[in-house]
Symmetry: C2
Subunit: 336 residues, 2 copies
């Protein structure tokens, strides 16, 4: 290890936060495995396929770190972090059925391996298990926060059905979908950490806003990556959103920047009609590059990132607070 | 009204119980409508299609009656009854997707009208709303009971995937599916009524056993009806289970009574291979009649019904207790 790496916090922000909550995360992983126990072996198989595939475990880490930032070190944070990850996994399973996904986290999606039926039902099971874990904390407030978030997530998924393949979607509508579909669980994950710790209302609200804005930034960065990244460890293939005709922020930016009817017709064909041919993705990326559509999405992500960072002002300076702030740039500027 | 009808409690048991809790049920219906409010109009449309179609509302009535039997008359019973109905509706929506159902309660199933995607997601939404309603009661015990029941229901649905079209299913396996899929919610519906009222552990347990056994009896009666009833107000068409190749109690009884290889081959073809032709349903019904397969299922239902009635011994005599006992025979011997 050389002087330079010693002079500043080393490692990626998520890894540094992970270091702080490492023991708790090991306990979370133990719960995630234990709680799949069932009288039917299909449940652990389908669920473990997705859970074992990893993912970044960002949401449970946020719950643990938020509780820790408020001085809480008890076991209930572990239960809640596991509950948050189960809710996330349940929504991914249902998403894959709804989207007819082929892959997830670089592996075949559960619906492709076991079919839609077990995938739907195992999602329902994980969702119920999540609530059982919350009940174990005995905190009605925590249950209030996470049941509200779950309803909002489902609403967001339904809203997305209406905006999918629809270029008349406004930026506001699209933001509402992102906020509900993705940011609601981030916001609940951080808020429950503070609630569990019995933090002041101002700090709990600070954590909620941090999670909300980080979640929006995360999703916008994800949207940008689809037109800029490469297939990588996250299992997200560049162009996946495009092939599904998904209306994402870069697409809305590009459509708004279209210079003539031919370009608008191109977007309508590939996105609204989802009628695509060889070379279309390349043309889409070229048009986006010309008009800075992806870069503008990243700027929007950075703006939300800045709000996330500011929301932590209500906490005293600490290395964990710094790490949570650094996580913002890491999430926004990640290249996969 | 003649002397005879005046001499005994008149009306069907469910109607008599409904009379006792009529005001509360009106409040439940109000919640079921109110709580569908959403920023997206697809949610109330899909959910109301099923909820407005009626159904017998047996489960919420059981929650209200159980709470009342324990002396509770507060508003939280209304919230819980609505939560129970939302959980039930959510499972029906997911069931219809999983089974590819064509009809439900005599109307086209939601998946046929709106497709699988909204049907799955609206189910998720209702499930979350159910938990939000439970949270409003502030009772962690109630949340514990209903989240455990929800996990068991999902497990039961997954178990059913393994027993479907499988004539090697044992009577015990089939009972385990029924108990998880159907009886768990009946048992939770009655148990939470007692828990909310702060009843003694013995009475709460009595209510739980009543719901469990009533639920099993209900499902066995339903299985019997498929081979004996006629399409009616419940929207269940006779032969639906048969056409799906469902392994139900009458089918298992009939298969066990088969007299030769030709009969066993018949059951394997129509149920396991689900390869059916004109006249097969009639032959199945004839074989069942010859061997008393449906009647035996009704006897099994009556045996569970007797256990349900006995479980209420722990309560002092009252007309409501009598009505709940009479409900058993009504459920078991209904003809639609």
């Amino acid at each position: 290890m050389d002087a330079m790496t010693l002079a500043r916090p080393h490692g990626k922000p998520l890894d540094r936060i992970m270091d702080v909550v490492r023991d708790d995360m090991a306990a979370v992983d133990a719960i995630l495995t234990e709680q799949l126990n069932s009288s039917t072996d299909l449940i652990p198989k389908v669920a473990a396929h997705l859970i074992a595939a990893g993912g970044k475990r960002v949401r449970p880490v946020l719950t643990l770190a938020s509780a820790r930032l408020c001085g809480y070190e008890g076991y209930d944070a572990v239960r809640l972090a596991a509950a948050v990850e189960f809710i996330h996994t349940a929504t991914l399973l249902h998403d894959d059925v709804v989207d007819g996904s082929a892959t997830r986290r670089g592996r075949p999606a559960a619906n492709r391996l076991w079919g839609n039926k077990p995938t739907i039902l195992v999602g329902d099971f994980l969702f119920s298990r999540a609530f059982q874990l919350m009940v174990e904390t005995g905190s009605v407030e925590v249950l209030r926060i996470l049941s509200a978030a779950s309803a909002i997530i489902a609403e967001g998924e339904v809203m997305q059905l209406a905006t999918a393949n629809n270029l008349a979607t406004t930026e506001g509508d699209h933001l509402a979908v992102i906020r509900a579909k993705t940011a609601a669980l981030f916001a609940a994950a951080t808020e429950v950490g503070g609630a569990l710790a019995g933090a002041s209302p101002a700090r709990i609200e600070g954590l909620r806003v941090y999670g909300d804005c980080l979640g929006i930034a995360f999703q916008l960065a994800d949207d940008a990556l689809d037109y800029a990244g490469e297939a990588g460890a996250t299992g997200k293939d560049a162009g996946d959103d495009f092939r599904e005709g998904k209306v994402t922020a870069p697409v809305l930016n590009a459509f708004a920047s279209a210079r003539d009817d031919a370009e608008r017709a191109f977007w309508r064909r590939v996105i609204e009609k989802n009628d695509q041919e060889d070379g279309d993705l390349e043309r889409a990326v070229d048009l986006m590059r010309r008009d800075g559509a992806v870069e503008r999405t990243r700027e929007q992500a950075r703006a939300y990132g800045a709000r996330a960072k500011a929301a932590l002002d209500v906490f005293d300076p600490s290395s964990l607070r710094d790490d949570l702030r650094d996580l913002v740039a890491y999430v926004v500027d990640r290249d996969r």
